[in-house]
């Protein structure tokens, strides 16, 4: 049992009317890992999570979470998971502590244990000082931390986080990820959805979901390795003009602004580099630097989605 995967999903499918939101997805999540769900908005990430936590019934396929069947053992399953939905969903007219008291009670925690757990999770997320404040007075980053605290009150071995950091400032995001690491260190399995590339890098393993289908899975390194074409980084002086020039070249399959430069995708980097130098020189655009770089996760994401779109 202890080395059985935390989550096993096989051919999971969900239709809404004639729309197939999730299309035959299969994957496994190991115990204690941080497992990322990466994909654009509307790709089917939230729908998948809601099938795994018992909120939605799959149209087809099967799954087990913490050893429980997602269709037949909804109640036992729900005792063993924590869930933070995409929408902030605590009571704004209750204080931080009252929210925790309510949700802890709903999970059946006895009063003395609940009181101890409330102290613990408040300390964990750093909200001990604000425990008596109304939730509506907390900044968004703090509310997200409170939501996380509420999701782990009953010490679930598996935690689902659906875009936990959307709309939160970078520092709060970083703090939030420190909390996620702290949970993972304690052996909690975490399934987290995101569309932030830097967050995806923090995951042990990832699946990439696009239009309801799982188009790639592996470690961040594995996914980057799936990029077949070479990535060139170019730093021209007139970025906008240079981007148009690059896009007009047939040897360059994709060009995008990346920081202060451009990232160009090409099957033959040598020839593409030469063609770019020539085209830019003809327009009097100075090229400060041009060189091959290792693909980032974002490069992999874009290239994998393009490839999936072409198929």
């Amino acid at each position: 049992m202890s080395d059985a995967p935390a989550i096993v999903v096989k051919d999971l499918t969900r239709d809404f009317g004639s729309f197939r939101a999730v299309d035959s997805i299969s994957f496994e999540v190991r115990r204690g890992e941080i497992f990322g769900f990466l994909g654009p908005n509307g790709a089917g990430k939230s729908t998948t999570i809601r099938m795994l936590n018992g909120l939605l019934l799959p149209t087809a396929g099967e799954g087990r979470v913490a050893g429980f069947d997602i269709v037949r053992e909804q109640e036992s399953l729900q005792e063993h998971i924590g869930y933070m939905s995409q929408r902030f969903s605590l009571y704004e007219d209750l204080t931080a502590e009252e929210n925790l008291d309510f949700f802890g009670g709903v999970y059946g925690l006895a009063n003395d244990r609940l009181a101890a757990r409330i102290d613990e999770v408040l300390r964990l997320v750093g909200l001990t000082e604000r425990r008596a404040d109304l939730t509506r007075t907390l900044a968004l980053g703090l509310r997200q931390r409170l939501a996380l605290a509420s999701a782990v009150l009953h010490e679930p071995p598996i935690l689902f986080l659906d875009e936990p950091t959307s709309g939160v400032d970078p520092i709060s995001r970083r703090n939030f990820w420190d909390l996620i690491y702290a949970m993972a260190d304690r052996g909690v399995t975490i399934l987290v959805t995101t569309h932030y590339m830097d967050e995806a890098e923090f995951c042990d393993r990832l699946v990439l979901i696009y239009q309801g289908r799982l188009i790639a899975q592996g470690t961040p390194g594995d996914l980057k390795g799936l990029v077949q074409d070479a990535i060139l980084a170019a730093y021209p002086d007139r970025l906008g003009e240079a981007l148009e020039v690059a896009r007009s070249l047939p040897l360059i399959s994709d060009a995008a602004v990346f920081g202060r430069g451009l990232h160009l995708t090409a099957a033959d980097p040598q020839a593409a580099g030469a063609a770019l130098r020539q085209a830019l020189a003809a327009r009097d655009i100075t090229l400060e630097r041009l060189g091959r770089v290792a693909p980032t996760l974002e490069d992999a994401f874009i290239s994998l989605i393009q490839r999936a779109g072409e198929e």
Partner: protein, 376 residues
């Protein structure tokens, strides 16, 4: 089970009492409704504004008019000279009825013939028109009877000479036919329904609106626990409202409370199964508070109209009379009025209590079975 239930109930109370708008909703409508019905709504018609067109101007016509002007039911506002003026007064709603005594009134009477007088009534409010017409009948009838008596005396008859048959009315349970006595108990019933039913529906739908429903559904909470937790607080609040409205009714409006408070309590609890059941049902078919409000008034208005509170059930077409048996408010209004005015006890009222309990349990079962443990 009770641990979870206690937490939900605690949370609902904190939220209900912390929300200023909700706090007002709990106490203000009951009082406003009671004051409105207690003071403004009055089906007793007194001092109906009246106009007179006396074309005869005889001693006889003056005697008849004297009767009208000394009746508390009529208030003679205008004496006019033409039928046109009479029409104008009614058109402008200055008077609700007009009495026209034709030119040959005295002559006809003296000749021992029938002397008609004309009564014009503004029947925009058909009920009021009916009532003032009856009052006028009574006044004219009394006048005729006296004339009759005089004529018989003149022909030498002796004795009492009163009408052979008379009605001696005794209005049981409300001796002076005060409509307030009928309305205050009715308002209690309406307030209980409004508060418990709307608060329950809104409390559930609000969770859907703010997204906390998803967080509750993902927990191992059972539907029965959720529903009990959502309804018990509003049952308690509704009972407090009953105490409030009853106290105001008894001490302020001096409505007699002849029956037992225990019977009133039992009836209220039996009825509350229905109103919270309906509230829960509405919450299962609405996704926003606005939808719940719409659905709520869609149920509330017919429930009142078909309860017998305003229109007697016996006047309804047969089909609607049968429908009223499915209306819990019908039973509850009967129970409240009977406890207040007749002092009835469980021995008499048990069929109503049983009907409410049965309907209420059916409604609750329906709502719980419609409650989904999943989304979509």
């Amino acid at each position: 089970m009770f641990r979870r239930l206690r937490k939900i109930i605690k949370k609902e109370f904190i939220q209900a009492l912390r929300d200023k708008k909700l706090r007002i909703f709990i106490f203000l409508p009951p009082i406003v409704q009671l004051l409105t019905y207690g003071y403004a709504v009055n089906f007793d018609i007194e001092r109906a504004p009246t106009a007179i067109l006396d074309e005869d101007r005889s001693a006889e016509s003056r005697k008849l008019l004297y009767r009208f002007s000394h009746s508390r039911y009529f208030d003679i506002r205008e004496y006019v000279d033409s039928e046109r003026d009479l029409r104008r007064l009614i058109d402008h709603s200055r008077v609700t009825l007009a009495l026209r005594i034709p030119r040959d009134f005295a002559r006809q009477l003296q000749g021992g013939r029938q002397a008609p007088v004309q009564l014009l009534v503004d029947a925009t409010d058909s009920n009021a028109a009916l009532i003032v017409t009856r009052y006028a009948h009574a006044v004219v009838g009394e006048f005729s009877l006296d004339l009759m008596r005089q004529r018989l005396r003149q022909r030498g008859l002796q004795g009492d000479l009163s009408a052979p048959v008379v009605i001696e009315p005794r209005a049981w349970f409300n001796d002076n036919l005060v409509s307030r006595y009928t309305f205050v108990p009715g308002v209690i019933a309406m307030v209980v329904m409004l508060v418990s039913f709307m608060l329950t529906a809104l409390a559930v739908v609000r969770e859907k609106e703010i997204g906390t429903m998803e967080q509750i559904l993902v927990s191992p909470l059972r539907p029965v626990e959720f529903m009990l937790g959502k309804t018990i607080p509003f049952v308690v609040i509704a009972l407090l409202d009953v105490v409030l409205v009853t106290a105001v009714g008894v001490f302020w409006f001096e409505v007699p409370l002849r029956g037992s408070l225990v019977v009133l309590f039992v009836g209220t609890v039996a009825f509350l199964f229905n109103s919270v059941g309906l509230g829960l049902f509405i919450s299962t078919v609405s996704n926003t508070q606005q939808q719940a409000m719409m659905a709520g008034s869609f149920i509330f208005t017919p429930a009142i109209l078909l309860s017998g509170f305003i229109f007697p059930i016996s006047n309804m077409p047969e089909f609607f009379q049968y429908i009223t048996y499915l209306n819990p408010l019908r039973y509850f209004i009967t129970v409240v009025q009977a406890v207040f005015l007749k002092g009835s006890g469980l021995a008499v009222l048990w069929p109503h209590m049983a009907a409410m309990t049965a309907l209420g349990l059916a409604l609750l079962t329906l709502s719980v079975s419609r409650f989904r443990r999943r989304l979509g």
